[in-house]
């Protein structure tokens, strides 16, 4: 059974589905519980769309997504050669504020941090490398 897939593709809104479909297939084949699949796919959207919208200043640049599923563990690595950007450095939104006080936006990466067991960012040799992991 295939447990590791590498995708090289232009990061755009449209190619998000390719990433998510591959991820979902791999997770289902390897027995990931249903309750974990959707949060993982949502986390993937948040990271991939950030690359699509911001890494290459609005132009479509390449992203490399490596998905690895081992018994009871999911890991995805997102790489791009866009401008250096550490999404984890951003301050978390205050989720205790009222609707009127809350700012629009800033929730995506926060939700990734909340739903994954482990997240990591590094900038190496011109690559932004973001990793997220979840046990299931």
């Amino acid at each position: 059974m295939e447990k590791k897939v590498e995708l090289r593709l232009p990061a755009t809104d449209e190619t998000l589905m390719d990433v998510q479909n591959t991820m979902e297939t791999l997770l289902r084949k390897n027995g990931c519980p249903e309750t974990h699949i959707m949060p993982i796919l949502i986390a993937a959207e948040e990271i991939f769309i950030n690359i699509a919208h911001y890494a290459y200043e609005g132009k479509a640049g390449e992203a490399v997504v490596v998905i690895e599923v081992t018994p009871n563990n999911f890991k995805a690595t997102f790489r791009d050669r866009g401008m250096p950007y550490n999404p984890l450095a951003k301050e978390d939104p205050d989720i205790t504020l009222s609707a009127q006080e809350r700012k629009i936006g800033g929730l995506g990466v926060f939700m990734v941090k909340e739903s994954m067991d482990k997240v990591n960012y590094e900038y190496t040799d011109g690559w932004n490398i973001f990793t997220m992991e979840k046990k299931f």
Binding site: D13, L16, T35, M38, P39, L41, I42, E45, E46, I49, I95, T96, L97, S98, A99, Q100, R102, I104, G105, L107, G108, F110, M111, E114, S115
Partner: protein, 99 residues
């Protein structure tokens, strides 16, 4: 994603089906804001929504802010377990009226 609009008196109900993601959320946002141009009370039926990302939350927050500023209401019906999980994680369970 598909949205069906029905109006009953002073309430507009938007029945949403499918994924609320970065591509479809702007459409949901527009439908919610358009509804508040016509009346003060909006109901979203989320029975057929299994996926919502931060782009969708943005549309809901704007809807909630608009409702409050117009002295109206925004209610969300039939929220499934995945969407509820996202609402809980983001603190939206406390700022939205989930019925």
């Amino acid at each position: 994603m598909q949205i069906t609009e029905t109006r009953e008196g002073e309430v507009i109900q938007l029945t949403v089906e499918g994924r609320v993601d970065t591509t479809t959320a702007p459409d949901l946002q527009k439908k919610i804001l358009d509804a508040y141009q016509k009346c003060k009370h909006v109901v979203l039926d989320f029975r057929s929504v299994e996926y919502i990302s931060s782009a969708g939350l943005r549309a809901l927050l704007l809807g909630q802010k608009t409702a409050t500023s117009k002295g109206g209401t925004l209610k969300i019906l039939n929220v499934g377990p995945t969407v509820k999980q996202v609402f809980d994680m983001s603190g939206f369970s406390k700022i939205l009226t989930v019925v």
